[in-house]
């Protein structure tokens, strides 16, 4: 069934179709509609779940963690300040190997107060041990929630799904709602390998001396490595069932491209328009969309970029004192593998528009320069 849905409602339907059993969240613009929708569905008896209205985002995640540790499928959603408030528990959830799914609606961090989009909120959580998947469309948001449970419960790692605030969260698109029966066949009920169960008492998260802590962390990294194959497999299976394929990365006109734009989130949609225009004029430009940011599919990235002359990275984020976060990641993937000039643009912070014309001009700059003049190519800032 096709429906006109905002990104927020697409995320809600994803949780509903995945039969989330315990949902807890705290309202924050631009995420609020996700929890409004879910609480209504639970109240109307359309979703057999427990919905818990808590007093903070930290408690929302704690509720989900308690539920997950007791063997229930749990869901939460947040944004920016809320995600930052969850920070300590993000580490805990991953360390405790709880297969939660969290939708983060990307919003710039205050101050000053802002509800508009950039990706600093979730990218600055990259070291917490969560799988991070970035979406380009509302359809992808819905589809990714369903896939995320399968990935999380297989790898015992929590998954954070990121969608750009306002651009997706508050924009309606046509979304194909999968049938519940099909989703049930694709995603079986959660069977926890361990849980808080009185018939088999264990202590979780005990004091862990140095002679074992290290091994737990090694296993977390191993799970992250294995997650790459799992994300790919799940994306393909999803394609077989629902007709929409997903992979670790998303390539656009890569073959024969001389310049490739690397980006994540909704700016990729804008890139597609700009690239079509540029290529009509005889340029050879393509795009590599980083759908999977953690684990970072380094080998695939190298494979996709190895024959290109120049790489543009568009970061709607910044690591202060360094440069764009995606820029840094690509650079590290390149180390001793590729020696291609990188052009690291920072654009659109705090929700400022990035238009197809902006992207065309970024490409034109790159065409005219052998190397980037500076570490950061600020785009559109009034210096």
């Amino acid at each position: 069934m096709k429906k006109l849905l905002t990104g927020n409602y697409a995320a809600s339907y994803g949780a509903i179709l995945s039969r989330a059993e315990v949902i807890s969240a705290y309202p924050i613009t631009p995420q609020t509609q996700i929890v409004e929708k879910l609480s209504t569905m639970v109240a109307e008896g359309k979703l057999d779940a427990e919905f818990i209205n808590v007093e903070s985002e930290r408690s929302a995640l704690a509720v989900c963690m308690g539920a997950s540790a007791t063997g229930a499928r749990a869901f939460t959603a947040t944004s920016a300040q809320g995600l930052a408030l969850m920070h300590e528990l993000l580490h805990w959830a991953a360390g405790a190997r709880l297969p939660l799914v969290l939708v983060n609606v990307n919003r710039a961090m205050a101050p000053g107060w802002t509800v508009w989009c950039d990706e600093n909120d979730s990218l600055s959580q990259r070291d917490t041990g969560w799988i991070q998947l970035y979406c380009e469309s509302n359809q992808e948001v819905l589809d990714t929630v369903i896939q995320a449970y399968k990935i999380a419960e297989k790898t015992m790692l929590p998954v954070m799904i990121c969608m750009d605030g306002i651009f997706l969260s508050h924009t309606q698109e046509v979304v194909d709602l999968p049938e519940q029966e099909k989703v049930d066949r694709f995603l079986s009920p959660y069977k926890p390998p361990f849980s808080l169960d009185t018939s088999s008492p264990h202590a979780l998260g005990s004091l862990t001396p140095p002679h074992v802590y290290f091994e737990f962390r090694y296993k977390l990294q191993q799970a992250m490595d294995e997650a790459q194959a799992e994300i790919e497999k799940t994306g393909k299976e999803f394609g077989n069932t629902f007709g929409r394929d997903y992979g670790l990365l998303d390539e656009y006109l890569l073959n024969e491209a001389e310049i490739i734009i690397v980006a994540l989130g909704t700016v990729c949609g804008t890139c597609r328009v700009a690239i079509d225009r540029l290529n009509e004029k005889g340029n050879k430009v393509g795009m590599l969309r980083i759908r999977t940011f953690r684990p970072l599919p380094k080998k695939k990235i190298i494979e996709s970029l190895k024959d290109v002359k120049k790489v543009i990275i568009i970061d709607r984020n910044i690591s202060y004192g360094h440069h764009g976060i995606l820029h840094e990641e690509i650079k590290s993937a390149f180390y001793r593998k590729l020696n291609i000039p990188l052009f690291g643009f920072i654009a659109g912070l705090g929700g400022r528009d990035i238009t197809p014309e902006d992207i065309e001009q970024m490409v034109n700059y790159t065409l005219k320069h052998e190397e980037s003049d500076t570490d950061i190519l600020w785009w559109g800032v009034n210096k």
Partner: protein, 294 residues
């Protein structure tokens, strides 16, 4: 005459790593006797993060999850929600120190109390951050020494009144207890188990290393806290019905205070002030307990 017996079933193993004379270890043993094995414990950062034992050991015979400081009541709410959706039954219990209940987890507890979550929230109150080496908390009594309220400038503020704060939340049950009155403690846990909604059990938990007293005096000090009127044993139902479980013998407050190094610097004036405060609080409690008598 009704004979009260304490269940023989032991749900806590020897070999835990509490300090000698720790009241919170004794309290856990008694609590689990009353609650039984169909119990799930949530333990935020507190002495019990250590006492239960290092990985892969646990000193209790029920499932226990450690969790980050300040999140226990929310984590336990999640456990309850999962049990509900799976149509399973168990006592969902938070076991925490005064750091969680009075301070860092206060907001979370208030949220859970307002939602009237079906959990038993137990605070073993050792009146300070003992696990980090005796620092002041908002449960530390006035004039007490801690490493962050040195003798030259001991704590200047009154102890936060947890029971009254949660009485104001109108939770179905709140009770105080100590290990010197094990029958009373067991009765309270047994009662809490049968009530739906949020139950608060506030245990005064004397700490030999933090309060500076010999470890063989834990029970005596617990008893003195009650018999001097400093820590009365009482229950509050729905924030309205107050029941006093034991009338103090009104031993001098000095009997309690002088046994503890943390009060060694107190003057006669301090004792007098303490006495007056205890009497005032008792009268308030007495008045409240008379309100719904008929």
């Amino acid at each position: 005459m009704k004979i009260f017996t304490i269940p023989e079933e032991e749900n806590m193993n020897p070999g835990h790593v509490a300090c000698p004379g720790c009241a919170s270890a004794l309290s856990m043993r008694l609590a689990l006797k009353a609650l039984g094995r169909e119990t799930i414990l949530t333990v935020p950062a507190c002495c019990w993060s250590v006492i239960d034992g290092p990985f892969p050991y646990s000193s209790v015979k029920v499932p226990l999850s450690h969790i980050a400081f300040g999140t226990a009541a929310a984590f336990a709410s999640g456990i309850r929600a999962a049990l509900e959706i799976k149509r399973k039954k168990a006592n969902v219990v938070v076991w925490c120190g005064d750091g969680e209940a009075f301070d860092i987890g206060f907001q979370t507890l208030s949220g859970a109390a307002e939602r009237n979550e079906d959990i038993i929230f137990v605070c073993y109150d050792n009146e300070g951050y003992m696990n980090t080496g005796v620092q002041r908390s908002s449960a530390t009594p006035i004039k007490a020494w801690t490493t962050t309220t040195p003798k030259k400038y001991p704590k200047q503020e009154l102890k936060k009144d947890l029971m009254e704060i949660f009485a104001a939340h109108k939770i179905p049950y709140a009770a105080t207890a100590t290990v010197a009155f094990p029958e009373d403690m067991i009765k309270k846990f047994s009662k809490a188990k049968e009530i739906r909604g949020l139950k608060l059990i506030h245990i005064l938990s004397p700490c030999p290393s933090g309060w500076k007293f010999p470890e063989n005096l834990t029970i005596k000090i617990s008893r003195l806290a009650v018999e001097t009127g400093i820590f009365p044993l009482y229950e509050i139902e729905y924030g309205e019905k107050y029941t006093i479980n034991h009338t103090p013998k009104w031993l001098p407050v000095e009997d309690y205070l002088k046994k503890q190094g943390r009060f060694a610097h107190l003057t006669k004036k301090d004792y007098q002030e303490k006495k007056e405060y205890v009497e005032k609080k008792w009268l308030e409690l007495k008045e409240k307990s008379n309100r719904l008598k008929n």
